[in-house]
Structure formats: C-alpha cells, structure tokens
Symmetry: C2
C-alpha cells in the first residue's frame, strides 16, 4: 500500500473543541488521536502515540524537541501550535527535518488588548486588594475615608486633563491598547520600540491624528520609565529584552505609576519589581506573565509578586476569551490539516529568519 | 457680639485631605473640628461636636436625620456631602429647616465609567477566579486546556464582529461607558431609560454617528434582558427601580451574557442573581454595589454573591480614584465654605423637586 493512500495520523495533545475537531474527524481519511483530559498532556502519552504521525497539534505546555521528533519518525510533516509563541518548539531540530510549523500569531490581538486594559484598571484601582477584602469579610468594617483604597485614575477629567501612557514594544497589540486608551482620554503616548524595530514617523503622525493625542513619540528607556503614568510591556522575550525592566529602570518611574506586563515575564526582573512595589517606587502592577512561570515549580503563592498587595497576578490568560480561543482552535486545525494534506499552511511560521 | 462676627464652626466628619482642608483651616475666621481617624465617624463624636455648628461635612456613612439637626441647633446652614448620593440625608427635615445641601454629582462620572469597564472585563475574563487561583497556588498545576477559564470576549474581532451592549439607565455615566466600549468595537447599543426619562432621538442619532454604531435604540426591559451581551446597570435606586432585575428578567438573559452593576444595589434581587449564576442562566457578574450593603451587618463573606465563583464583588469603590476623590474633596470644602459664608453653593442639591 502506498503511503499516500494510507490513513495519515494526527496526534492532538489538546482537544480543540467540537467545531475545530470536527474539521479533522469528519475528514474521513485521517486517524485522529486526541488527549481528551482537562490537564496538560502526559509526555508518556505523546511518546507512545507519536510514532508514525504526520501531524502534531500542541499548545505551549508540550515541548517539541529532538526526542519527540525522532520518536515521531520520518512521516512528521507539520507541527501546529495553538499559540502566538513558539518557545516550546526547538526550531533547529524542526528546520533540519523541514517540518512545517503552523501557529496563530494575529488572532489574539484584541483579547490580549482587553486583558491589558483590565490589568491597568485593576492595578490602578486596587482591584486585587478590594476583591480579597470583600471575600475576607472586610466590607462591613471598611473605613470609607475619602482616600481609602485610592489609586491613580486611568481616565482623564477636566480637573486632571493629561495622562502619559508608555509602551515597551509598539506592535499590533500596543496599537489595539492605544485605541482603547484614547477613549479614556489619554493625551500622550510614548514608546520604546522593540530592539531593531524602525521608527515610523508617518504612522505615528497618523495615530496622533486618529486618536487626538497631544503627543506621540519614540523615546529611550530612561524617558519611558520617567514619564509613563501607565507602562505597558508588550514586547517579545529572549535575550534582547531580558530584564529591560530592572531596578535602575524601576527607580526612574513615578511613585504614582503603574506597570502592566502582557508581553513576556523575562522582560521584568521579578525581585526588583517586588522591591519597587513594597518600597513605593511605583504605585502598582498588573501582570499576566511572570518570569518564573516557565521555571520548575512555576509561580507559587510564595512568589514575592503574588504576595505583594498592590500586584495583580493572573496566570497568563491574555488570549483566554471564548471567541478568540475558538478562532485559534479553528486555525490550528486548518494548519495541521493543510500540512498533512501537503497544502500550503494558512499561517506558517517562517523560521528561516529565526534559525 | 453679633453672630456674624463670631467664628463659625464647621464639623468635618471626614478628613478631606491636605488641599481641601487647607481651604477651611486657612480661612482664618472659622473653627474647624475634624474627625481624623481612618474609620467611620463615631455617632457620639458628631453629637458631641455638632451643637452650634454652621456647617457640616459628611460622607455617605454619616446619617443626617432629625436627631442630628436638632442637636446642631439653629446655626446650621449647610450640609456638604462628598458623594453623588444623598440617601443618608433626611431631606424633609433639611427642607423644613431651609438648610442647604451641597454634593458632588458630576465629578465621579469618568472614575465610575472606568470601574464599569473594569468590572465588565473582570466578569467576562474570570478575573476573580484567576486572581484567587494564583493566590492559592493553582498556577503551577493549571491545565491550560484551550478553553479553561474561558469567558465571553468583550471586544469584537473579524471572526466575531458584533456585540450588543445594554444599559439600564442611560445618563452621564452610561454615555462615558459607551465612549469607552466603542473603542472595543461594540456595534449595538440598546437601553431602557430610567423611569420617567424621555427618549431623545436626536441625541441617539448623534451617539450612533459619533461611535460608529450599527444600532442605538431605546427598548423595553424584556428586549434589554434578551439581547444584551453585557448589561450595565447605571440607574438610581429607590422604589421606581427596586428589583427591576429579578428572576423573570434574569431568565430572559443569554447564557453567555454578563451583568455589571455600578448603579444601586437595590435594582438587583441578590438571591435571584445568585441563582442565575449558579444555574448558568448568565455567564458572570461584576458588582460594585449589592442591595444588602446598607443593611445591618452589610455584605459579608457568606453572602451568596460573594461566594459565587463567577461573581466579582467590589465594595462600592466606583468613584475611588485619586484625581476624582481630590476633586470631590475640593468641591465639598468649597460647598461648606460658601454655605457658612452665606454665599451661593458651587453645587447645591435642589431638593425642592424631591421633597
């Protein structure tokens, strides 16, 4: 029997939900093996099922390395990850074997921007503290003095008519965040592009006009730290951005300022940020990512940022919104299907520029 | 000695902060008595200090009733409250004595709108559950299945291009919320005006145009319940709005919908809402007000809405943002000062229409 007439096998380390899974299971000529439990896929299960597979579906919790690829064998043509990031995939191994990689980079933009606004509001408005206070029976005895639980206000008012928002990294998601912030009356936008990104004067003039800003400017890190009322980190990880936000940076920030990280945990020195919060260098922080999240043991309740009252820590849920996750799942299924059928992937990672 | 040349007394049941207090203390010809502790003002302290006072500064926790006014005596000319609401002031007693009332109705608009957006995001994105999960050491073992902790998305996307937002009450704050939501890509706005409010066709056409909406419409309660993806309650309390959101209303809502209350707790039947959440009639709720907050004992940790996982309850902090509180304090001081000096109050409550 020729290989092309045999049923190609797809191993799904995640259940992509009924709509996306139907695309694979109803194809008719595919063997689809699915990890259906609502927990991380066991490594043993993957290694047991991967031999002979043509397609592999993963999320960020499944490590795609030499061991996995070798165990899969020569049939493996495509790895489809349901994520923006690809740190869990060893691209050198993948490139050497000419395996295609599908991913979902653009889809989560709006969901992540929503999350960034939520974290900015939660951090400025002491939402973590207040939520815990109610849960712990503190509402009936709350002092209600005029300035109790009072943090800086995100929106402008006639009495307080300017706000400066800073972005570390100024790509798609930052632009979606800026669109939302403009409706809160933000007046000044400053940013430090990710390393290597070009300044785009015409685009900036257009954004200034569109959002009725008083200023939009590319600035150095020191200016970004010193002027931002709310600073959004929306830059990729890696060595070029590692600990850009360290003690020296945080000491330049304003005591009324707030830091929001929806980018990568590695950009922020956790220990420095915990000190900045406990000593009042800055007012608060909202974090969807923390550098220790990928380390053995992860981010525990004993982590100094989790125990810091003015720090809201969420477990990397930036893209976790139903409509976005459904679209990510749909694209993930289309990517693996295209790869298995030898067609062009709807959204392929161009790793030639990375490896 | 004539009364006008004696030092008039102002009793402040709340410390309004250095800027606003200076307006009173540096006037030179006033006796200013201040409760400086960071807890609710003792009733005994007020009754002890109020005799002979010309001005009284209160927040919503101080009940201004016949006992207080009688104890104050005939000098009392003005009560200045640092709040939008005036449920704590017995207006019949005040009116009978021709005492002026100063308040701060417009100032918190932007801060409350910020809070409403925060609660809408927190309720849709399971922020309460996620925040607690990290605090309780749940991040390292989080399943990360594609739909774990997934709620409905506030913003639109090309894949999911429409959202219908409902408002119960469509005044200043609702308009400020709508401005923000437009930047999240909201397409349809429906509202039920507060009882007695007129439909304003020209204004609505203007809003539709300004925010690039596909629809804006005044609808009945049943339509409001049935169509809203996110429903914002921004209506005053009182008998006209009591329990407008009850079991019958909640049963008409969509299972993916979310309820946000920044208006008055009495508008929502707490028991019905708790049932709606636990039985999945609606997806989630974000509440800054709860009907039992004014009752003896208040809202405790045992309250069914506080213990409901998909309900975020905050302790009535809608206006608690630094810039807004400073402006409220400033106006409160100016109101009491004007009243004591026999001048027109910057912002007086016209209780002739209410009493």
């Amino acid at each position: 029997m020729e290989r092309t007439t045999s049923r190609s096998k797809i191993v799904c380390c995640r259940d992509l939900g009924p709509t996306a899974m139907a695309l694979l299971t109803e194809h008719g000529n595919l063997e689809v093996v699915v990890w259906t439990e609502d927990r991380r896929c066991d490594r043993g299960w993957i290694l047991e099922n991967i031999p002979g597979a043509t397609g592999l579906v993963v999320s960020t919790t499944e490590i795609v390395n030499r061991e996995l690829v070798d165990t899969a064998g020569p049939n493996l043509r495509v790895v489809s990850t349901t994520s923006i990031g690809y740190e869990h995939i060893d691209l050198e191994v993948i490139a050497a074997r000419k395996i295609q990689v599908g991913y979902t980079p653009d889809i989560p933009t709006e969901a992540v921007a929503d999350s960034a606004i939520m974290l900015a509001l939660m951090a400025t408005r002491a939402a973590g503290q207040s939520y815990s206070l109610v849960k712990n029976n503190g509402w009936p005895t709350l002092s209600r003095s005029p300035f109790a639980l009072c943090g800086p206000q995100l929106s402008t008012t006639p009495f307080s008519p300017t706000r400066t928002i800073g972005f570390l990294g100024f790509g798609r998601i930052a632009h979606a965040v800026l669109t939302r912030l403009a409706a809160f009356g933000i007046t000044h936008c400053i940013y430090t592009p990710r390393p290597g990104a070009a300044v785009q004067t015409a685009r900036d003039a257009q954004l200034k006009d569109k959002h009725n800003l008083q200023e939009i400017a590319s600035v150095d890190l020191s200016t970004l730290a010193g002027r931002s009322d709310v600073l959004f980190i929306l830059t990729p990880g890696g060595s070029a951005t590692h600990h850009l936000v360290n003690s020296a940076f945080l000491r330049q920030m304003k005591p009324t300022s707030v830091l929001v990280n929806n980018g990568r945990g590695s950009v922020v020195d956790s220990i420095a940020l915990a000190q900045a919060l406990s000593e009042g260098w800055i007012w608060g922080a909202g974090l969807d990512v923390v550098e220790e999240e990928g380390a053995p043991g992860g981010v525990t309740s004993a982590h100094p940022l989790v125990s810091e009252p003015r720090c809201v820590v969420l477990p990397h849920l930036g893209s976790v919104a139903l409509e976005t996750r459904e679209e990510m799942a749909w694209l993930t299924a289309r990517n693996v299907l295209a790869g298995v059928l030898g067609e062009e992937l709807p959204v392929a990672l161009d790793y030639s520029a990375i490896v």
